[in-house]
């Protein structure tokens, strides 16, 4: 498999690796994928009081595309509103990282994780109300 330079860059130096304290009320975590399916992503997002994504962290296992897409996602997430995050699609990662069709599931996993995190944040908001 031949990878684009952006994939190799993110694969060799993935951004924002780590975890956030999910017991905090403004932190959500989305866990997607299964090891025996080849990809696992844990995505942590911290929101500020205005509902902007303040920071994010990832733990990721999988092929180079899922590592690169998850890393790229942490840069994309920064300062986005919940509505903006919900609009993030796998297309963005496919285009940016030049992901072949047979590997689109890697980009979908990242989209799913972002959507799950948004859903979790909305649930938090409801519980506050």
């Amino acid at each position: 498999m031949k990878y684009s330079s952006l994939v190799i860059e993110h694969f060799n130096q993935p951004r924002n690796i780590g975890v956030l304290d999910a017991s905090q009320s403004n932190v959500v975590v989305a866990r997607r994928g299964q090891p025996d399916e080849g990809n696992v992503l844990h995505l942590y997002i911290e929101f500020d009081e205005q509902g902007f994504a303040q920071s994010s962290r990832i733990k990721v296992y999988g092929d180079p595309y899922v590592i690169a897409a998850a890393s790229l996602a942490t840069e994309l997430i920064q300062n986005k509103t919940i509505d903006e995050l919900q609009a993030v699609s796998y297309d963005y990662f496919v285009e940016q990282l030049d992901i072949p069709k047979t590997k689109w599931h890697s980009a979908l996993l990242v989209e799913d994780a972002i959507k799950e995190a948004c859903h979790a944040f909305k649930s938090l908001e409801v519980s506050y109300e």
Binding site: M1, Y61, G62, I67
Partner: protein, 387 residues
């Protein structure tokens, strides 16, 4: 190979041609050399080429303790396997139409057997034990009154395990069944004595032993005589078994490669073992790394490793400075894990996280140190980012 190319750890895929072999081959190509057709019997060009071909035949035969006239030139081990299996099946089909092989054989054997299934033959595919070795009682049990051929490899190309072809030959001979062995990965690397082994047909490859690609040979036993139907017709070369003008330069290359392997058998073996052991010493303390295939009964140049916790494609990208093989075959739509590992009972998930490292005559201890450092660093890095 200490330049900006990856460190070559894929000697079971192919080997570089030994410079001494190149020197000999160059003497049989152009006007200043012996370029004649070995089949030309009317002039010195042909006679000299023919002499060189026969010398090479003796060199190949000497490595495996065979008679020179028992060696038939082919285009490689794939052709040798096809000629042995299809040729024997076609010749002996009146005696029976049952063949025995193993699920972990090379595709050249499996696909030749599959072809014969389409021609009305029945094939039993033995399942090896979890260490890759065939249980001899399974072989004996699979034999039927109509079994005409058993085809089993000597050293497995992926996991490097060495099958007990001596004991297998005793079984097949007792039942009067033709025994074919694919020795592409073992010739010149572990001892083969065809005076002692009861093997009837044996396939060889030049490029796995520092000879040229596109060149191989098939051993066809003369006492007791084994008969084959040829696959290629047109001139009756090689006692009618393999027609076609002989490729003198390729043949002398194979002969020289086999002669060198014979001369320096012990020093090659010692060096390769030293490199492989050093490689394993550097990796064995990393948690979650397992060797596939029997640890002791294996070719000294092979390591087949499953590295848990790192996905297969990421392993390959992380190890880009190393030239190695994965256990997966990419097709256009999906990645198929190795059928060899699957036959050992290894899960699809783990089979995908498996690599084959193979060292050879030109591997250096310095390269091994570098490879170990790269692998240790990348495994640690990728595991640290995983959940």
């Amino acid at each position: 190979m200490m330049n900006n190319k990856p460190i070559y750890l894929d000697y079971m895929a192919t080997t570089p041609v030994d410079p001494r072999v190149v020197d000999v081959m160059m003497r049989y190509l152009s006007t200043d050399g012996e370029f004649g057709n070995p089949a030309s019997v009317t002039h010195a060009y042909g006679w000299n080429a023919s002499t060189a071909v026969e010398k090479a035949r003796a060199q190949v035969a000497a490595l495996v303790h065979a008679e020179p006239k028992e060696i038939i030139w082919t285009s490689g081990a794939t052709e040798s396997d096809n000629l042995a299996i299809i040729g024997a099946a076609r010749f002996y089909h009146r005696k029976g139409r049952h063949i025995i092989t193993c699920k972990t054989e090379h595709k050249a054997v499996l696909d030749a057997c599959k072809y014969l299934e389409g021609q009305g033959f029945e094939v039993t595919y033995l399942t090896p034990q979890s260490n890759g070795l065939i249980d001899l009682t399974d072989l004996e049990k699979a034999i039927r009154p109509d079994t005409i051929l058993v085809s089993l490899m000597h050293v497995n190309n992926e996991i490097g395990v060495i099958q007990d072809i001596k004991a297998m030959g005793e079984i097949t001979r007792r039942h009067g069944i033709v025994f074919h062995v694919d020795a592409a990965q073992s010739a010149g690397k572990i001892p083969i004595d065809l005076q002692e082994l009861q093997v009837d047909l044996m396939s060889f490859s030049a490029h796995k032993l520092y000879g040229p690609k596109g060149m191989g040979a098939l051993y066809v036993r003369r006492k007791p005589r084994v008969r084959l139907e040829p696959l290629i017709h047109g001139g009756g070369h090689e006692t009618g078994l393999r027609s076609g003008t002989l490729a003198t330069h390729q043949i002398v290359g194979m002969g020289e490669a086999f002669a060198i392997a014979n001369q320096q058998f012990e020093s090659d073996k010692k060096h390769i073992q030293q490199c492989r052991d050093k490689l394993w010493q550097g990796l064995c303390d990393i948690p979650g790394i397992t060797i596939n295939g029997d640890v002791n009964t294996r070719y000294q140049g092979n390591l087949n490793l499953t590295i848990e916790g790192i996905e297969g494609d990421s392993l390959i990208l992380a190890f880009q400075k190393l030239a190695l093989s994965t256990a997966s075959a990419c097709t256009s739509a999906s990645i198929e894990p190795s059928y060899v590992l699957r036959a050992l009972g290894i899960s699809q998930h783990l089979a995908h996280s498996t690599i084959r490292l193979s060292v050879g005559r030109f591997t250096t201890l310095e390269e091994i140190d570098l490879a170990v450092a790269i692998m240790q660093k990348e495994i640690k890095r990728l595991r640290a980012i995983a959940p």
